[in-house]
């Protein structure tokens, strides 16, 4: 069971969280024209690689905040967690 640092609440076990997928996928702005490719990249296409992965978790049974987590998909090591409004630095 992963041990995730919620930036609001501190270290908590994974069973307090729900997963939310790739955090680097950006929703196109509302009302903006987007190509099929851009839209499909947002809705369907994922990189999902081995290694470092920025992803979303929601502290569902806690503060209910969505957070960003940088985790290694092969080892599950967690490097960093950010609040929803913090930008992922490349």
């Amino acid at each position: 069971m992963l041990y995730i640092k919620c930036p609001h609440c501190g270290m908590r076990s994974q069973n307090e969280f729900s997963y939310g997928g790739d955090a680097t996928v950006k929703r196109p702005e509302l009302g903006k024209e987007v190509s099929d490719q851009e839209w499909d990249d947002f809705v369907y296409n994922r990189k999902s690689l081995r290694g470092k992965h920025w992803e979303l978790w929601q502290h569902l049974f806690g503060c209910r905040q969505w957070i960003k987590v940088e985790r290694d998909t092969a080892t599950h090591e967690i490097f960093k967690t950010l609040k929803a409004n913090q930008e992922i630095s490349k």
């Binding site: 992963l2 997963y19 790739d22 499909d40 369907y44 994922r46 999902s48 992965h53 092969a74």
Partner: protein
């Protein structure tokens, strides 16, 4: 090639088993092949076999990063079925069922296909209706399906929970009598042995490091054992699809996730069918060795680790006991994890790509093992003829753009929710 039979077994026994042939050789890769299949799993091996058998293409190499059969064909719960609702899935799988039925004889390798039937339990009238929709669709597609009421289910699996102390009582179930199980490793080995005998090079411990693409055409593959030229390349690496797609600058509607399974200690035969729980996600069968083979949910976050965490198994086994309370007293013996290509509608992709000569076979989610023969057969056809067969026409990559989705569960793009 030696023919396997009881006579041959006796003959070899009398010569102290010293004269058995290699099941497959261990060749050095040639410089060039007509077709290179990347991935020595069930689907890759089957593809090579059908390329040789059905299309007479034998200048073929299978290149495998580790050892053949080491991916999901060797780490699944061995269930074989065609109880799908969508026509594309149903007809494809039913075609596969025919291949399963004759596989042992076809491959001269006993894959122990055992049509013991699968029962999907229902726990409400609403769920009975959902299963009726699926079962009726199966029947209209010519696939066997029976709707069982509570009493009929009780007769077949009396050890399920029919007591008062149950959270989700059993209302009935949908049964596909012709579904069953097979010995998973044997499928990989059987295909490998036949493919090898027809001239296919099976190259293990050979990792793909890159591709050679020019002018929109595939030219070859770069591997840890040198460059290999190929006219056509088939990608058959469920679980690593995203990694290879990255090397081709492709982004696919696939996420990579972990699915765990476990077995109990072996016990004398007690469960003759494959059974799935309707008020959650749990499935079980008893292997010929006597072990209860059990599985359920994904671990729920992108993963390439062939190891999982206990809470997922706890959750799965909780549903197991809810369905069959006697499991409580058995012991969990072994657990393992497999890496899944989770596609965004839960159905696979067998298609050509925008690169000429490059073909894609991926996105099998949990359903890869049962699809092994049909996948190999249709993929071989797609590669050999450079066009999809009608059986895999629905499995095109473009469907995510056109909206012709094949979502059996209606869960959408949250692939980690199972």
């Amino acid at each position: 090639m030696q023919k396997y039979s009881v006579f041959n077994l006796i003959k070899n026994a009398l010569s102290n088993h010293e004269n058995w042939d290699l099941a497959w050789k261990d060749p050095t890769p040639k410089k060039e092949y007509d077709v290179v299949i990347i991935g020595g799993g069930g689907h890759g091996l089957a593809t090579a076999y059908y390329l040789a058998k059905e299309h007479n293409i034998t200048n073929v190499a299978i290149i495998e990063k580790g050892w053949i059969g080491g991916g999901n064909v060797g780490r699944n719960t061995t269930i074989i079925r065609s109880n799908y609702m969508h026509d594309d899935n149903a007809l494809f799988s039913e075609f596969g069922m025919d291949l399963w039925r004759k596989m042992s004889q076809d491959l001269n390798y006993n894959v122990m296909f055992s049509p013991r039937g699968i029962i999907n339990l229902a726990h409400s009238d609403a769920q009975m209706n959902v299963y009726a929709r699926r079962g009726n669709s199966m029947r209209l597609n010519g696939i066997d399906a029976v709707l069982l009421n509570r009493e009929q289910v009780k007769e077949i699996i009396p050890m399920a929970d029919f007591s008062e102390n149950v959270r989700f009582p059993i209302f009935g179930g949908l049964m596909q009598p012709s579904a069953g199980t097979a010995r998973h490793d044997a499928v990989a080995w059987g295909y490998a042995r036949q493919a090898d005998s027809m001239g296919v090079d099976i190259i293990q411990n050979c990792e793909v490091v890159g591709f050679d693409v020019s002018g929109g055409k595939i030219k070859g593959v770069r591997t840890s054992r040198g460059d290999i030229k190929a006219k056509k390349i088939g990608l058959c690496v469920a679980g690593s699809t995203n990694i290879l797609a990255e090397k081709l600058n492709m982004r696919l509607p696939i996420e990579t996730h972990l699915l765990q399974a476990c077995v109990s200690e072996p016990v004398k035969p007690v469960l003759d069918r494959v059974v799935t729980f309707g008020a959650g996600h749990f499935y079980i069968s008893q292997s010929d060795k006597g072990e209860m083979v059990m599985g359920g949910d994904l671990d729920g976050y992108n993963s390439y680790a062939q190891r999982g965490n206990l809470p997922t198994l706890q959750h799965v086994l909780t549903e197991g006991i809810a369905m069959m309370p006697f499991l409580s007293k058995l012991k969990m013996l072994r657990t393992w994890g497999g890496i899944m290509d989770m596609s965004m509608d839960g159905s696979p992709i067998i298609d050509k790509t925008h690169i000429e000569g490059l073909y894609l076979n991926c996105g099998w989610c949990y359903g890869g093992f049962k699809a092994t023969p049909a996948s190999g057969w249709t993929f071989a056809h797609t590669i050999a003829q450079d066009r999809v067969h009608e059986l895999n026409a629905g499995y095109n990559l473009n469907r995510f753009n056109t909206g012709h989705l094949l979502d059996e569960k209606g869960l959408g793009t949250k692939t980690w929710i199972s």
